[in-house]
């Protein structure tokens, strides 16, 4: 179910990394099933999915630590994996940041960063190392050892170490999962800035969609080894290609309805217009994805729904509104609209692109 990237945006660039039909199994267990993806020069991609979906295995296949049973991987138009070829990881020029950082405990920070700078003059190595230390803002700890650093510092050193040899592609395996939550967000933006500054393409693996959205230009949603959708974060949120993607990404509810005409659906919230999935006729039961931001609070509206639950989130309220006994919708309001549970809330629909699935 791969999704074509929007061609017009990328006419000038050629795909840097290309995966065709990648499959991999451990014994009888199929971990990756026919995955395809393309990543362009300078882009940051993200493999998103719940644990066990195959995202880390896919990343390790790109790095060369796992050998797919089937399919091709090419980097800069060079085949690095197919039926005959399996370039060993050390010859792929792919950098990697590991979940546990994997800093070498017996080497200083400087030595760690310089480790991948083989066959270069001492001067150039020193120059590159100080350049990177500057970039990650840790110039003063060059001679310390990994165990003397905080988690966030270790993470930045791991990044600098992977970037040092200027790899064609940088892979990051759940890079923030061992850090505490407040640090994560701050680092995600910082890491994105550093990668973009170096002009290196990257692929990140995460199970946290906020992290994916913060970091990536393209997000691939994986489920049970299959690539559900490879798309921009915007499209993944607003134009999910499947019910699984619609449910996994963001919040929202599936509102039932019935097809009226070629482009309209009758629901409990009125008539909604949109492109129907194939094979829909009049009266075909369908479901429409309603995001909380598709519903706008308006006290003057004629639609008044009962509030059954509310969550205070600081800047906003998330209300659960009852349509009838079987269905409800979510609505976000600025947090000064403090309505009580069981009271009525006036709303209106503001759906720019409706996502419709056959029931």
């Amino acid at each position: 179910m791969s999704h074509q990237p929007i061609k017009s945006l990328h006419l000038m660039t050629k795909a840097l990394l290309q995966l065709n039909n990648i499959s991999l199994s451990y014994g009888a267990h199929k971990v990756i099933k026919d995955v395809e993806l393309e990543l362009n020069e300078g882009e940051i991609g993200c493999l998103l999915g719940s644990s066990g979906c195959g995202k880390t295995t896919l990343l390790r296949s790109i790095a060369g630590f796992e050998k797919p049973d089937k399919g091709e991987i090419s980097l800069r138009n060079q085949m690095i994996n197919d039926r005959q070829i399996n370039t060993p990881p050390e010859q792929r020029n792919i950098g990697m940041v590991f979940q546990d950082f994997a800093l070498f405990p017996h080497m200083s920070i400087k030595k760690n960063i310089a480790f991948g700078l083989l066959k270069q003059s001492k001067e150039r190595v020193n120059q590159r190392v100080s350049e990177l230390l500057e970039l990650i803002g840790l110039a003063d700890i060059a001679d310390k050892f990994p165990h003397q650093l905080s988690g966030g510092q270790q993470q930045r050193v791991a990044l600098a170490r992977a970037l040092a040899p200027k790899p064609d592609l940088l892979l990051l395996d759940e890079p923030f999962s061992s850090l505490d939550v407040t640090l994560r967000e701050q680092l995600a933006t910082e890491v994105r800035k550093i990668i973009k500054h170096e002009g290196i393409s990257a692929i990140l693996v995460t199970h946290d969609q906020q992290e994916a959205f913060d970091m990536a230009d393209k997000v691939g949603l994986l489920h049970q080894g299959k690539m559900i959708q490879w798309d921009t974060p915007y499209n993944l949120y607003h134009r999910p290609a499947s019910r699984y993607a619609a449910n996994f990404i963001g919040q929202g509810v599936m509102l039932p309805g019935k097809v009226l005409t070629i482009n309209s659906i009758k629901t409990e919230l009125g008539i909604i217009y949109g492109t129907l999935p194939e094979g829909c006729r009049e009266n075909t039961p369908v479901e429409i994805l309603i995001r909380p931001d598709d519903i706008v609070h308006d006290d003057d509206s004629s639609y008044q729904l009962e509030i059954t639950d509310k969550i205070f989130r600081g800047a906003e309220f998330l209300f659960t509104l009852k349509i009838n006994d079987n269905s409800h919708v979510l609505c976000i309001t600025p947090s000064h609209h403090n309505h009580a549970i069981n009271s009525l809330l006036g709303i209106k629909l503001d759906i720019t692109h409706s996502v419709i699935f056959k029931k």
């Binding site: 590991f98 070498f104 017996h106 083989l118």
Partner: protein, 551 residues
Amino acid sequence: MTDRWQLGILTITLLFAVPVITVFSFVFQGPSDVWNHLVDTVLSDYIVNSLLLMLGVSLGTLSIGITTAWLTSLCEFPGRKIFQWALLLPLAMPAYIIAYTYTGMLDFSGPVQTLIRETFGWGARDYWFPEVRSIGGAMMMLSLVLYPYVYLLTRAAFLEQSSVTLEASRSLGMGPWKSFFAIALPMARPAIVTGLSLALMETLADFGTVEYFGVTTFTTGIFRTWFGLGDASAASQLASILLLFVFVLIVIERFSRRQARYHQHIGHQAHAKRIQLTFKKGWLAFITCLIPLLLGFGLPFAQLSVWTIETAEQMINSDFYTLVFHSLSLAIVTAILALILALFMSYGQRLKNSPVIHLMVRIASMGYAIPGTVIAIGIVIPFAWLDNTVDDWTRSQFDFSTGLLLSGTLFALVFSYLVRFLAVSTGSVESSLGKIKPSMDDAARSMGYKPIQVLQKIHIPIMRTTLLTAVLLVFVDILKELPATLLLRPFNFNTLAVRAYELAADERLADASSAAIMIVLTGIIPVILLSLSITRNFYEPSANQEPSSND
């Protein structure tokens, strides 16, 4: 790349399996006259004596090992902190050396009997004194130096038990002593059995003690059949029966190690609080711990020291220095070789994580359980065959005799040590390698390093302390080794162990002490290493780090 590792591991494993395969291959050969003779006369003695020895050593090591482990890990009494490491000292004392020493101390002209006669004014026939050179004596000697195996593993098991389990038992109405018997002891059982099976492997492998005490067991039988009767086939058949005993022990040991994983380690919780013993009980505990330490190390060491000083003038000469140099250099070179092989095997195993490779590494490190006598026979036979074949060929082709290329050379001896002790270094390397996260390998690979470079740049520097320990442990084991050295050494090549054996066999017990004390002193090195790890409360039951083999 990885295929080369695989091929290497396969080759090493096959080579290392040669001795065992050789020995077993004779099972399928028809019985020789000598074999029939053995079956009719001495085979039953060998079996009965070996079983009796194992029984006696089990009783001895279990009673000493468990009691001292229990006292030092769960009770508080005067001297506990010193005892907890000092109780390991008998490990430094090879059984054959303690046997010579006690014989010298307890025989008719020894200090003990002389003192008795002088005190009571008795003549030679006025009193009965137990004969140390007997099967009972052998049981005592072996128990005194082998109990640390049981002590070490049992103590670790007791310490790993969380206090919560014992507290749960207490809260259910059991007293502290009842809880010990109902909870702590059964939980430690796999560890106890592992320790015991290691001690029994050493018992079966022992040659020096039983030979000196005139107890006929498999090892002495193999030696006699080989040297005395010159029948390689019958000696191998004896060795196969001995190996069957050994394999039973290996299976028990492997099984209990696996069990131990379920029995221990339920998270990292606080250790059980030690029971503070009352004054009287405390001193009783003190004496209980002191006795095995004194008998297994203190007294024999003191006696050896006295003898060494008495005989120094005639024994410590240039010959002695040559002997020390031979022994030490042979041991250190072989230990380094063992380390290189262990690194190759363990790292290959890490690269190529397949069940077949795991099995091969296990097979190659089986030697720790196989008696030196058996390994020696399993090496002499194929090497002699190879030498003869090469010699015949060169003679027929070039009219030139190569003589003996392999057998009777240092090469054969080094090979036997490697087969016997590879497990010691593999064990250390494997457990240390296991502590390095696999992401380290991946990180270095992704930065452009080949697997062998990763080993050089990452693993070896990180593991350097362990690697040094591994070399030391093998070094000491080789220094102590007696039966294989005796059978395989080149003509006129002596080691400290062989010299001590020869002098003792000539009843020159005091003269043997300078060589013996050198062995004991080096044997203390691994004890110190183990003690350090014990006081740091750091011990891995998975590692085959138990040093020493008291052949």
